[in-house]
Symmetry: C2
Subunit: 108 residues, 2 copies
């Protein structure tokens, strides 16, 4: 059993979001997401079959929901639970630095 590190293995340039599944267990999938300036296309909404608990560990980003007018800004340490089928999109991610997220996907 050897620890790995979440902040290693991140390419200097990211042409698109980098999604890496770092652990899979019974009913749970842990994913690292690295973004820099990417956002969801206008009018696109994620509609996921699983619940997703997310935390921003570096950088900053914002999420918005189809039902609601508020854009939620996320900074280092911000976390949020997004229940399955709650339609949402990434409004923006910081273009000047990497945003590193941890996402815990778990079944309903």
């Amino acid at each position: 059993m050897k620890p790995e590190n979440l902040f290693t293995g991140i390419p200097a340039e990211l042409s698109e979001e980098l999604l890496t599944t770092i652990h899979r267990g019974d009913g749970v999938r842990i994913e690292r997401i690295v973004s820099q300036g990417q956002s969801s296309p206008q009018g696109f909404w994620y509609n996921q079959d699983e619940n997703e608990w997310i935390i921003v560990l570096e950088g900053s980003a914002a999420i918005e929901f189809e039902e609601g007018t508020e854009v939620l800004e996320l900074h280092r340490g911000s976390y949020l639970n997004i229940p399955a089928h709650v339609r949402h999109r990434v409004a923006w991610t910081d273009p000047h630095q990497k945003t590193v997220w941890l996402a815990i996907h778990y079944r309903t």
Copy 2:
């Protein structure tokens, strides 16, 4: 839906480890652990019914396993999966700063 922050609400002085369940879902429990200098008692081994995936987000610590001689040092970003019933203990945590862990407990 409002984001909360993992690094807020940490008392300046910690006489013992601070364990806070920050999210509960189907088959998953997400816990924040804050330590400063605490370790498991000598000869004590955790023997948990659930799997536990852990990551250190601030500070540093070390974990050791009953089966094995190695003490695994963990720093910012270090993560590790500890399967259920793998006996382990916290060998040390940094006495000079807070160590903030995130632990994902999930069923077998």
